[in-house]
């Protein structure tokens, strides 16, 4: 009986998605040994009802002039969608991990020359349901 209980309890834990802290740590490591982790954004989004209204996780961050930032995105093993990270300034998109041809990069660098408030958007390609973490770091070495 105890065995069955432990099995069910452990299954109910592992059935949940990947541990966010582990995913953040992995993603910050993937960003490269020359980077310094600053912030992370753990994002779980449902499937889009329509392609015109794709769910998006939005955050703001102040980025500083003459600083070389790296924005990375890492998908959880069980994520159905591929995460996309984008950077906006004053409502205008200035950088994205997906190109116009649809190629997805796991990170992009941003050489900042204007101190100010920026918006970091995370969504999933084609509005699929997904679980990913975005990591903001700066290149330090």
């Amino acid at each position: 009986m105890l065995f069955a209980f432990l099995f069910i309890c452990s299954f109910s834990r592992t059935a949940n998605a990947q541990d966010p802290s582990t995913l953040v740590f992995q993603c910050s490591k993937n960003a490269g040994s020359e980077t310094q982790y600053l912030k992370d954004y753990v994002v779980k989004l449902p499937e889009a009802y329509s392609q015109d209204n794709i769910p998006t996780h939005k955050n703001t961050a102040i980025l500083l002039k003459n600083t070389h930032y790296r924005l990375s995105i890492c998908n959880s093993d069980d994520s159905k969608g591929q995460g996309i990270i984008q950077l906006y300034s004053d409502g205008k998109k200035i950088a994205s991990s997906i190109t116009e041809s649809g190629k997805i990069y796991r990170s992009f660098d941003f050489e900042c020359h204007k101190t100010g408030s920026y918006q970091i958007w995370i969504s999933f390609k084609d509005g699929k349901e997904g679980y990913a973490v975005g990591v903001l770091s700066f290149v330090n070495k």
Binding site: L38, I62, I94, A95, H113, K114, G116
Partner: protein, 312 residues
């Protein structure tokens, strides 16, 4: 009869498993509930007036002092322990207000120590931070054992840095998202910010450099955001005093002129460690116009405000 007993036995077993699972789940829920409902009576009443959503949006917008320390390090400014806040008075702190504020102060100092790889000196700060985090009941987000081991053994400094910053992010997120406790996040952020500013202004006094002056001038933007957050709590006398102190600094920052040059970003592909990455170079620029007199006034006022606040 035998069949009825067999069914009863199985149903009983199933129910037992179900009860155990439910109790397992509710014990987690209860601990979350208890943590969430333990509020600070002195400030919780006024918190009703604060829009939590607005706070999350604004506080997430405050920059990290790590970038300040990185700039000093990059410019070859030597490390100095003189800049750091004294840890001796921590055990005398008895309000959440003081503890949250100092959690920020010592967090900035820890960032500075880590950036200069002074891991043995960081041990003392890690211990103090753990005391404060426990006092605020957020010690579960600060992995003291691992941090202390990494710092003591002077090993894996990247992990030490990651874990330090990540712990602060976790504490901040938890406080911001927990009803009745978001004011503690704004205090922690205030402490981080003023100590980061203090560190760089002390460096500016001894090692003047245009990049350092510009970084100080840019704080005008951050202070504006920070004051927006603090003003949400201005009805509280302690907050009111903190706001007044920060306003004296704001008077000086308002004199600084920041202008912008328009430009379109350029995207290039770079190969780094066999991996192709996109590099976006921003051609829009911010230009900080800060005179020597303005800089000196900010240095002087920052020192006064920070020293007053660490003496609270």
């Amino acid at each position: 009869m035998k069949q009825i007993l067999y069914i009863f036995k199985n149903v009983q077993g199933f129910l037992l498993v179900l009860i155990l699972m439910v109790s397992c789940r509710t014990s987690v829920d209860n601990s979350e509930y208890n943590e969430n409902t333990r509020q600070d009576s002195s400030i919780s009443a006024m918190e009703i007036e604060v829009s939590e959503e607005a706070l999350v949006e604004i506080v997430a917008n405050i920059a990290s002092p790590i970038e300040m320390a990185a700039l000093m390090n990059r410019l070859g400014v030597p490390f100095s322990k003189r800049y750091l806040a004294n840890t001796s008075s921590v055990n005398d702190l008895n309000t959440n207000f003081q503890m949250a504020y100092k959690l920020g102060i010592f967090g900035a100092d820890l960032g500075y120590l880590n950036m200069y790889e002074k891991s043995s000196a960081a041990v003392e700060y890690i211990s103090i931070i753990k005391t404060l985090a426990d006092g605020l009941r957020v010690g579960q987000f600060f992995d003291y054992t691992t941090l202390k081991r990494l710092a003591t053994n002077n090993q894996n400094l990247d992990s030490l840095m990651f874990l330090s910053v990540h712990s602060y992010n976790e504490i901040d997120s938890y406080l911001r998202e927990t009803p009745g406790r978001s004011y503690l996040s704004s205090l922690m952020i205030s402490g981080l910010w003023i100590e980061g500013l203090y560190l760089i202004t002390q460096v500016a006094k001894e090692y003047p450099h245009p990049d350092i002056s510009e970084r100080i001038g840019e704080q005008k933007i951050i202070l504006t955001d920070l004051l927006n957050v603090l003003n949400l709590y201005k009805k509280n006398p302690s907050f009111n005093e903190l706001i007044r102190d920060f306003e004296t600094l704001n008077v000086e920052f308002k004199k600084i002129n920041i202008t912008y040059e328009i430009g379109e970003p350029e995207t290039i592909e770079k190969v780094i460690e066999k991996d192709t990455i996109l590099v976006i170079v921003q051609n829009e620029k911010s230009i900080v116009d800060i005179s020597e007199d303005q800089l000196n006034s900010i240095i002087e006022k920052t020192e006064k405000v920070r020293n007053k606040l660490i003496g609270l």
